[in-house]
Symmetry: C2
Amino acid sequence: MSIKQGKQTYINDRKVYIKETAAIVGPREKAGPLGEYFDEVQQEDYDEKTWEKAEAKFANAAFQKLMRKIDKKSDDIDCILAGDLMNQCIASSLGLRDSGIPYLGLFGACSTIAEGMTTASLLINSGGMSHVICMASSNFCSAEKTFRMPVEQGGQRPPTAQWTVTASGALLISSEPGGPLITSVTIGKITDYDITDSNNMGAAMAPAAADTILAHLSDLGLDANYYDAIVTGDLGLTGSGILRELMDLHGCSLYCPEEDRFIHQDCGAMIFDPVKQKTNSGGSGCGCGTAVFANYFYKQLQEGILKRILFVGTGALMSPISVKQAESISGIAHAVAIEAQ
Amino acid sequence: MSIKQGKQTYINDRKVYIKETAAIVGPREKAGPLGEYFDEVQQEDYDEKTWEKAEAKFANAAFQKLMRKIDKKSDDIDCILAGDLMNQCIASSLGLRDSGIPYLGLFGACSTIAEGMTTASLLINSGGMSHVICMASSNFCSAEKTFRMPVEQGGQRPPTAQWTVTASGALLISSEPGGPLITSVTIGKITDYDITDSNNMGAAMAPAAADTILAHLSDLGLDANYYDAIVTGDLGLTGSGILRELMDLHGCSLYCPEEDRFIHQDCGAMIFDPVKQKTNSGGSGCGCGTAVFANYFYKQLQEGILKRILFVGTGALMSPISVKQAESISGIAHAVAIEAQ
């Protein structure tokens, strides 16, 4: 059973474990500061003729890698929760169509993996499910094609722009002991601060991250420093600055003066070296938080370097059409509290 | 708690009610055989300048209508589950961004409302949630623009083609008594019969519907005639014929000889008069099954005309890009067993 506490948070009464993870990244991610942690590297086109087929192959490969790591057959998995940024989420459906596992498609933009972990925790707490796979993917070239300009055009990017991460990841969320525990989840609301610049997704998502983190801490009566790290998915450098400022304004600093460090970390700000790799504000995309959580933070929790983290997936709810029609870019964020065993 | 039975089915141990529904349709739907049942009619453009904004307004209006019908504030609703067919599901996120309710975005193509009902049942059975709103929408013109040709071009349609339904609908799924009960749910697998004709979605979705209906009946040890009606979302006339044939091949006829009638009904085949309205194979889209369930089948259950139905949302997992890249169109279907009280 899950127990609702406050307005948006659910505490897992039945224990939910992140039993195993797998991730596959592209060459730019491999060349970044976290490169050594990733399970596998593949070229962005993954030997396919189109970027969409390549992303679907990335999704499939992360699923296959996870299945090889765990001692389970397809029939043992109750359900897959998956999504991506492609129109009609085709990377996930094409990548997983042969899995033979019941499938629930999600759309949470770059918050998808956190939406999946949140939903999986609750589904396992409903009692009927034991093993749920959560997945998400993104591909730099398929995202550029879908959301911006052809890569070949070589358009200039402003400093606030982010680089979509080429990566796919899969997590086995399970009631079977093993791996860090998901102790509670907080479901985010859509926030909208009237941001209309699609080259500044960090600004659109930061208010959603702040809203969800504040809701989580308030619902559970916690201070930010209860967590060793509050990890956002892909705010990038610009969005991270905005989040920290917003949290200060709400009297809930993410800076820990005793240890002279920020409690807040961001997968998008960590995955690339912005100077050497010229990646402007950092990484973004469904695959960013997914791969960095699956292969970096998961290991930090496994090794006890981090004891307690709040993983906050962040998503920008927009399409190229909505931006062209002068609609503002809404944000959403879901938070997953995770404890090392 | 939910209890898993068989491979894909979950029985609701905690009682889950469909407490209230609301739907808004366009003029073509109002002029069809079910016209008298719909809550409200609005023009396809809903006084907006773009089809996408119109669909978002339809989504918002169905949400507002549901909220007016129920004696609840936004704060009473634990979560909204919503999705649509637009790229990056913008109709739902734009339409619901001011709701102030925790939001989980779904992508199940035209199966979205059934995916929502399935997920909502399990979330309520996790114990922490009491009231979940499920929503889906589609708009003829926004779908034509996204998936096919500009409406103004007046392209010819083959007989297997369907007309996207302009409609939005919202359901309050609740643990609070009132309305028909959701007794069990079956989560579908992605099926793929190598259909590549995007003018024949019925053929792509029918195998998924058959697969999920067979799984449901097998998991629970039921015959098809246990249900007064097995209602698919939007197979249309062509897809309905294929489903009935596939079920015959599996030795599970959807025809009831004692009563000389088909147990199977399809919202897409019912919503238009194919001769008078020249709608080829019938209606389709997220809004089709949603509005017909919300305003027709729901009332049939409320009035006791139908006692037990299996509602099977059907979705085609594809995008215009995947079709152009010669990928086959996968299908998915989720089944929700509903009993009148």
